[in-house]
């Protein structure tokens, strides 16, 4: 298998590079460009079209600016925020649709701790 094929497979692309192709170098450039575009799009897209998914999602935040940061970072639809007046969190950020976080390293760590308790 040529290196171009390997990259294509890692990127989850449908494109298939035939081993020994004289144009494999140019295919690689195009392939990587499409891959990076798709990757950039994928990191922004955490909304789902699943009809069973919740129509509203809420996230706590220490101030309203965090709501805007989440909306911008993950491509969510921010409907607004409301006072929470909890000791830690000033507001709840209200998003349309299922606004899911990508799981962070710390989420995994704490879940593992909790599971062992």
């Amino acid at each position: 298998m040529c290196p171009q094929c390997a990259i294509g497979k890692k990127a989850g692309m449908e494109y298939k590079c035939s081993s020994g192709s004289p144009n494999s170098a140019s295919y690689l450039v195009v392939d990587l460009r499409i891959y990076l575009q798709k990757k950039s799009f994928a990191t922004k897209k955490f909304m789902t079209n699943n009809p069973e998914a919740p129509k509203i999602t809420r996230h706590a935040a220490t101030d309203p600016e965090k709501c805007r940061e989440m909306e911008n970072k993950y491509g969510w639809k921010l409907l607004g925020w409301d006072d929470l007046n909890s000791n830690v969190f000033e507001v709840e950020c209200i998003f349309q649709g299922e606004a899911k976080f990508p799981r962070s390293r710390m989420d995994y760590a704490i879940t593992e701790e909790e599971e062992t308790e």
Binding site: W76, L78, G80, M106
Partner: protein, 142 residues
């Protein structure tokens, strides 16, 4: 960058008397503001969502938060889109003004999902997030 959506009451709509900006006390046509990080556009026929708090359904950690939501009584009837002349250095890709009509409906009241907490709730501050999680584990253990 995002889309910024402003919802306004269209001409001739009722309930203008009580509609005021709390911090200035001045009357306003603005009904709501939304920010779409996916740069999508609002659609004619979309309705504003309304949030209510029903006693007895509060989340223990967040007793002051809303508990239910419903499709609201304001519906988009007309949309104007404004885009910046220069494509860079702007806060928004597009600004939409959605003019709405007051069309009351008997929509279903639905329970809100629980409020989530993550590292982004603290703006990416790992230490603050870890402290919060530790305090939660302690309080649950008590």
């Amino acid at each position: 960058m995002s889309s910024y959506i402003i919802f306004q009451a269209d001409k001739g709509q009722p309930h203008w008397k009580g509609r005021k900006l709390a911090h200035t006390g001045m009357g306003t046509n603005i009904l709501a503001e939304h920010w779409y990080g996916d740069n999508s556009a609002p659609k004619i026929g979309d309705r504003l969502t309304e949030f209510v708090k029903i006693e007895g359904h509060e989340e223990p950690e967040f007793p002051g938060a809303s508990t239910h939501y419903r499709d609201g009584d304001w519906e988009i009837c007309r949309i104007e889109e404004y885009t910046p002349e220069m494509p860079v250095g702007n806060s928004f890709n597009s600004i939409y003004i959605c003019f709405c009509k007051y069309l009351p409906i008997a929509s279903e009241l639905k329970p809100l999902p629980p409020i989530q907490v993550s590292i982004d709730s603290f703006g990416g501050d790992e230490i603050a997030y870890k402290e919060y999680r530790s305090s939660r584990v302690v309080s649950v253990a008590k």
